[in-house]
Symmetry: C2
Subunit: 164 residues, 2 copies
Amino acid sequence: MQSSVALRKQPEALVILERFLPYRLNVLASLTSNALAQIYAERFGLTIPGWRVIVTLGQYEFRTARDIAAHGVMHKSTISRAVATLEERGLVARKPNADDRREELLELTPAGRAIYEDLAPEALAFERRLLSVLSGEEQGILSALVDKLARHARSLAPQEEGGS
Amino acid sequence: MQSSVALRKQPEALVILERFLPYRLNVLASLTSNALAQIYAERFGLTIPGWRVIVTLGQYEFRTARDIAAHGVMHKSTISRAVATLEERGLVARKPNADDRREELLELTPAGRAIYEDLAPEALAFERRLLSVLSGEEQGILSALVDKLARHARSLAPQEEGGS
DNA sequence: ATAAAATTGTTGCACGCGCAACGAAATTCG
DNA sequence: CGAATTTCGTTGCGCGTGCAACAATTTTAT
């Protein structure tokens, strides 16, 4: 065994950022998030959590704060405050749940739904612009891989409450 | 043309979160980021920006704060403060650049490199655990697609400074 | 050469966010 | 049935972070 160099002391790159997936995922998510945030902040004065509440309620009609938090990996206090702000602005209404009086069902007001209907097409247009560099097949593959990874990542830390 | 229902008023889901890629990318990034953050916060008292500075310097040896910020889509003030903290802890050192005295070259101190060499294997182990649900081929495909998307996303908003 | 514009990094300020403690309600257990 | 535990949502606190203004320096334009 011809030893190459004995006791190399030179620093060595152990992690290559350009190949480190968690890093790259965060960079990509930041890029898309920032671009989207610009749209709904400038045009509708919405924060990211506020936007998420509105889109979730636009899709699900009635949901609790906890559902929204868990689904989007956000802290419950973040959602609580976002809902409070949206309620003050008259975009979201609370309906007490008779079956479980700890929780409140949330829904969009007509004004909230109007914003949703304005915002949703822009969000989809942004998504299309973003995905336009991928073929339809690539989009499907990416979609499946992202879902697979996300499911696995959730199983690695099930009891957590995350922050964006 | 037999019209279906005239003037449907029922609310309609325009955005399906489970199919909306920016949302899913953020969820996935949050999941991985939280799990990683737990490692280097608990064991080394590092914040996310602090960790990013250390890994970047671990790989590149000499970099300016601006480089790190742009590469990781983070705000320059975030990096500035992270570097200040790391310098106080004796993990990072500044070398003034004679060619351009506005900027400072950053490098890891021996203590900083020691943390890096402790942390890097754990980060890589986490990445392996995360990617273990994908085949080698799938990993390669995902990698390529993420890069392609990130390049495109950067080109959509080139003059921005992002936030994590 | 001189002035105007651009760039690097820092800092005061405000605010959003995570944490932990809390009240209220529901569930589990003895 | 009653006590202990769990869960949903809110809130005070501290802090990290984005924004904008700034000093220092370099680059560009006149």
